[in-house]
Structure formats: C-alpha cells, structure tokens
Symmetry: C2
Subunit: 420 residues, 2 copies
C-alpha cells in the first residue's frame, strides 16, 4: 500500500544532527520512502493519509546483535563474568532448544516482545538446533519483522549438551538449514553464525567460509569482547596475527559480516575492519554487565569503520534499542572521562544515527527517511511524559530515548507494511 504518514518526524541523515519535521509528511511507495517533507508535495496529495497526530515518528531501530534464545533469561545472573555466565547460564539454557515445545514457548515470548519493540530489523543468533532455528525464523517472518537469523555453529570448547561433535556433520547441518530457510522465508534470511573462534574448529570454519561464498550469504560472530577471551584466542590460534585475523584468514571479514563487541581492537585490527568493510555491532549494556569494558566507538568511527548498535540480549538485559542508544552515549562519556580524552563522547544524534542509518546499512538502504530508503518507521506515543514547559520535537525525542520504558510504540512499519 502506498500512503502518507503525518506526524512529528525525526531522523538522522548523518551523525552530526537530527533532522526534525514537526507535523511533517513521510511518503511511502512500494515499501520505500519517497522522502520526508515539511509540506506535502502536490504529486502525493492523492495518496491515503495516515495522521498520527502529535506522536513522534522515527526510523525503525536496527538491532544488529541479539541472542533470541537468551531472551528467556535476560536480566538474570548479571553478577557473573563472561565465561562463567556462558557456562552456568547461557549454555544450559540454550541446550533446551533441542526440544521444540520449549523453543516454541520461549520464541513466542521473544518474537512478541520484539514485535512490540522499537526494532524493525535484527541480526539474530539462534542456537545450534536446526528445527528450532527454522521455527524462530518462521515466527519472526510471521510477525512482519525483517533481518537475519543464524543457526549457531559450535563444535569445540562447549559443553556436551551444546556442542556439534563432528565438524563435517556440523557443516552439513548448516548447509541444509541455509538451503531450507532461503526457500521458505522472504524477509528473514539466514546468516552464517560461528559462535566465536573458541567454539569452532578450523575444519568447521573452513566449511562455513565455503558456504559463505557458495551461497553468497552474510556472516555474524563475536570479536574481542573480553581480555580473557582474547588471550584464549591467542592460545587457540598461535599462527593468527590477532583475533580479527583469526577470522580473516578464513575470508570471513567482508562487507556482509557483523562482528559484535570489538572492545579491545589493536590498531591494525581497526584498519583491517575498515578495509574489509565489516559492520561492528556495539553493545554497550552487555559490555558493562559482563564486565568486558567500553568499546572505543569514537575511534572506530573516526577510522571509518562501519558501526551499528546491538542489545546483545542477554548479555544486555533488554531488547529496548532506545536504551542501547543512551547506553552508548553514556559509556562513551565514561570512555572520554576515564580512558582517553581525545575520544569525544557521542552525542545523542550520533547514538540515534548508529541505531538507525548506521546499523541499517547492513540491510541495504535502511534507517533513514531520505528518498530511496526502506519505509521502516515507528510511531511513538510520549504522552505519558507530560511536561509543564513547551518542548521541541528534538527535545521530546531526546526524552523519549532516555526514558524509553515510559513511552510506547503505538505503530510500526517495516518496508511499508504496518505490523503494529
């Protein structure tokens, strides 16, 4: 359906500033924005008008890194550090997804919450289980969300309950899942997902790299989250020139690769990420919760590395991407204060940019209201935040982002289709 959405528009064409159009017009044709206008151009006057009144309208959020099976235990076990948390929380819970009954109940909760959230597109880890992963993709597709889901590959250094014991079989499972899911789904697409270097043998990585090229599919993994993990990778890959190179030697760093975290990149790794066009998913809440640290986002941005945001549920406690925006701003202030005063704190506009157009780039022309961008939009009711003084649209957006739990997504469009 083609239509015009009228409301208080706010979006970021670049990281430097938010563009606001009070009572503006957003034109959607064939799922794509024709542009955002202060006055509706005559040529669009024949389109049906959806007037959302005084509500705020923002581009949908792109959550580049979220673990669907961890949603069930978000906000739990947060006193633990990464490896302990993985072994006592993440792995035992993820092993339950071999049972489709459990997976159905848990993924219904995840998809329902994701549908109601500010997120329109996601880069999502599932588990190693093919049937449950296909079920998750089916549910996300039915909910009208877009994005990538990965059957996780992991064949070493994992507990028996959650380990693919045979690299060749693991590769065949990944391929059959890939083929099946490409056939069945239109908007939710497969993404190869080696869990991280410590979980994958060279044999499995080699096979996944072959699949990546053969089927022209993207890849999603973790990079440099935690100092102990980095030392572990050094031990596991003595021939690699650092953690990033351990992926790169398999040809896994490409413009269609998401690497989550990147908290401790070496200078040559930053260069490599830029050269390869890799998208970094910055996950500030997770990096705090499991005590990883603060990723040098300003440094990455200055170096020309592509950056978006992820909630990293359940390292992060919430799928709320507004929280990811303000968390990113807050930790960048601490980075500036505590680590390096040459790295300026992120502004709110920069945070919002990362969550929309920044990370959106992984999905194509996504994350803005400029002409030619996918019509991904959320309608936000902030009337639960009354104020005694007049506020501009930009101020209302700032407040809505900082107090995200207190306002409500009352409308949501993904590629022009209304799903909330």
């Amino acid at each position: 359906m083609n239509f015009v959405l009228k409301g208080n528009l706010c979006f970021c064409e670049n990281p430097q500033r938010m563009t606001t159009l009070p009572n503006g017009y957003l034109v959607s044709r064939d799922g794509v924005c024709e542009g955002a206008f202060a006055r509706l151009p005559d040529k669009f006057s024949g389109l049906p008008l959806v007037d959302v009144g005084d509500h705020l309208v923002l581009p949908g959020m792109n959550d580049l890194h979220v673990h669907a099976p961890q949603f069930a235990y978000r906000g739990l076990g947060m006193d633990l550090e990464l490896i302990e948390w993985l072994t006592t929380r993440a792995f035992p819970e993820e092993s339950k997804y071999r049972e489709l009954d459990y997976a159905a109940r848990a993924y219904d909760l995840f998809v329902d919450a994701m549908k109601k959230s500010a997120t329109t597109r996601l880069g999502c880890f599932a588990t190693l289980h093919v049937p449950a992963t296909l079920m998750l993709m089916e549910k996300l597709e039915a909910a009208g969300l877009h994005g990538y889901v990965g059957k996780v590959s992991m064949d070493r250094n994992s507990p028996d309950i959650l380990c693919e014991t045979d690299a060749a079989q693991a590769a065949r499972d990944a391929e059959s899942w890939l083929v099946e899911s490409r056939k069945r789904f239109s908007n939710i697409k497969p993404i190869l997902t080696p869990r991280f270097i410590p979980s994958c043998t060279d044999a499995l990585m080699g096979s996944l790299a072959t699949l990546m090229r053969r089927y022209d599919v993207p890849l999603h993994s973790h990079l440099s989250e935690n100092r102990a993990e980095i030392r572990w990778v050094e031990q596991l890959c003595p021939n690699a020139d650092g953690y990033a190179d351990a992926y790169d030697r398999h040809g896994m760093l490409t413009p269609r690769t998401i690497m989550a975290h990147v908290v401790y990149p070496e200078p040559d790794e930053i260069d490599l990420l830029r050269e390869r066009g890799v998208m970094v998913a910055h996950c500030p809440a997770s990096n705090m919760n499991i005590r990883s640290g603060i990723a040098p986002v300003r440094k990455l941005m200055k170096a020309g590395v592509k950056v978006g945001l992820g909630t990293d549920v359940a390292g992060g406690q919430t799928i709320d991407m507004f929280r990811a925006v303000t968390d990113a701003v807050q930790v960048s202030k601490l980075y500036w204060r505590l680590i390096d005063q040459k790295q300026a704190a992120l502004t709110l506009a920069e945070g919002l940019y990362l969550a929309t157009k920044g990370g959106g780039a992984f999905f194509g022309k996504v994350g803005s209201f400029e002409r030619g961008y996918a019509m991904d939009a959320i309608v936000l009711d902030d009337s639960s935040l009354p104020h005694p003084q007049p506020l501009t649209v930009a101020e209302r957006v700032e407040r809505a982002l900082y107090l995200s739990g207190e306002c409500k997504v009352v409308g949501k469009y993904v590629a022009g289709r209304q799903i909330v």
Copy 2:
C-alpha cells in the same frame, strides 16, 4: 492500621545477600514491621491479611538525592557537561519557580510520578523560593511520602535570575522557611540545603551552620562531583584542606548530613566522611550523563562510609530507583575493569541494600523488613515479564530491577500507610 501483608518477600539485612521468603508474611503494627516470616506466628493470626498473591514485595526505595524542580527537564540537554548544563538548563528552569502557577503545575507532575514510583522516602532539593518550596512539601506530604525537602540556599556565582543577593536575607529566608515547615508538616521535614560551596558565601554558610545547630536539622549538599568543580572550590577556598573540609570547617559534616556524588574523594576525605558519619548519596546515572566519572563506592564502603543511592534527577534522567540500583552495579563493573581491579564490582544484593537499608539509615530504622523497621514496602507486579522457565523469587527480583520500566508498582506502604 495493623495488618499482615502476604506475598513474595525480598529484602537485604546486610549487603552480602538478599533474603527471600516466597509466600511470606510481613507484619505491620503501628507503622512498624514486626518482622518477616515464612509462616505466620500464631500471635499475629488475628490481624487482617492483605494477600498480594504472586506479586513481589520489597522495602520501599530511598532516593537520597533528587532535584524536584529539575524533574520537568529530565532527559534533556544530556549532551552537556555539568557547568554548561547548569547554566543553560538547570538555572533558567529553576528560576521559573518564583511563579507559583508554574511551580504548581511542575510539582504536581513530580509528586504524581514520585508517588507511583518505587520510592517511599526522599532527600529532595527544591529551589531557593520559599513559597514554592512550601508548596512542594505540602504536595509530597499529601501524597503520603516521607523525607526531607530543602529550600536551596545560593548567594554567589549564580545567575541574577537565581541568586540570593544578600547573605543575611538569605539566612532569614532559610530560617523562616525552616520554622514554618516544621510547624506545618509531619512526614516531610526541612533539610538545610546550601547548593554547593561555589554557590554560597562564607557568611551564608556560617548562618546556615548556626541554624543547623539551633534547630537540630539535617543538611544536604553536593561534594566532589566533577574535577573542574573541585578545582573551582580550591580557588574559592584557598584555606580549606580540600572540598570536604570546606564544609567541615563550618561544622556541616555530621551524621545528619547527605553529601551527593563524592566521585573524587582524597584518602583523608574518605576518613573524614567516615569519622563524621556523613551519608554519601551515590548517583551513578548523573555521574555518567554529565560526564563526572564513577564514584569509588566500593572504596567508600570498605572504609566504613555510609552510602545510599540517589537518582539525582535531572543529572540522572529518571526517578526510577531500580534503575539507580542496576546503574550502580553496572558502573562499579566499569570501575573495576577500567580503574582499579582491587575494587570488586557491586553485586545486585549490594546495590539493592544501598537503595533500601543503606540509604534508609538516614531516615532512622528504614529500609528492611526486620523487626523494628518502618513499614515501608512496595508491591511489584512483574507478570508483564513472562518466562518459559520457572524462576525463583530472587531471580524475579533481579529481573524486575534490571527491567524496571517493564513492571509496575501496584501497591505502596509508607510507615504502614497505604498510598498506592
């Protein structure tokens, strides 16, 4: 009214652990807890039973540091640093409270939100305006909340629109407000509130110290929030032996003193705070937002300094004390990771302790369900957080704290009186 509250109880007798009593009984007599029990002792079986079913019951939160007039612009201007934020946001907004119409509208919003929140007792800054401050106290008292409110004193280094030009007059205003409010209110009490050293002449400080002793009232101010501010205090008080001493030489550091922030205390200042029995209000969100840094809370606790939590709205963006608990835990992890690995991160139990019994100590026996403590309790509906797996009460509390925006306070008792 005397009664028994039945629900899933959770509280912290000490920082080491949370005590949980699933389907436990909390006995309230004359506004005071008779204790929390797994089974109801026979002697209380005659009391009326309030059964809140599967809801969670926690002690009310004590917000030791919140600026009521800044609630109107919470979550705004967060890209600014302290002094710039004060001059462009805080001071112009606070100046509006000379008009009672504006104050009434703004304070109604603040009090309504505070009433619905998890907070039962607060340490609250108003503005320098006596009529508006009395109005705020009246509204808080009518809402059933308990705590301290301060007419702010500030007679230098402040803009003309928000400055008491005559120290003697400022002292007389503080005294008349003190006398009037002690007469009019039972549960909301006056607390002397010199804004901070830079805003107050020695003459005014001397007068306030005299009032403190003459009327036996507590005092609330800011200490060592920001490095630039600390340098400023050094210049303003060349004879003082540091920022804390600038208060101490006026006799303002006592067991009835709240000092907010304390981000950069010198070792001798930590000793002084302990010796004087001062309560430190740790405000993690604010310290991030206005780029102050991270307060060394573990160090303060180890040294025996009393510590509680504050939201510091609007340096902090929300009056949600659950958020203050998890923010305190999160930034303590970054402190450990980035600054000093000898200072262990706070556990969730420690964070909850600080928000309840830790800060509660400023109000007397407050913040626990042990016998003799004030019957301050909140009833929390977390049914909006469904889960596929069984969860213990402790796990549900952890999740509710981390996802505070997603559950709801459906009941609230202050000193035994139900106000929500």
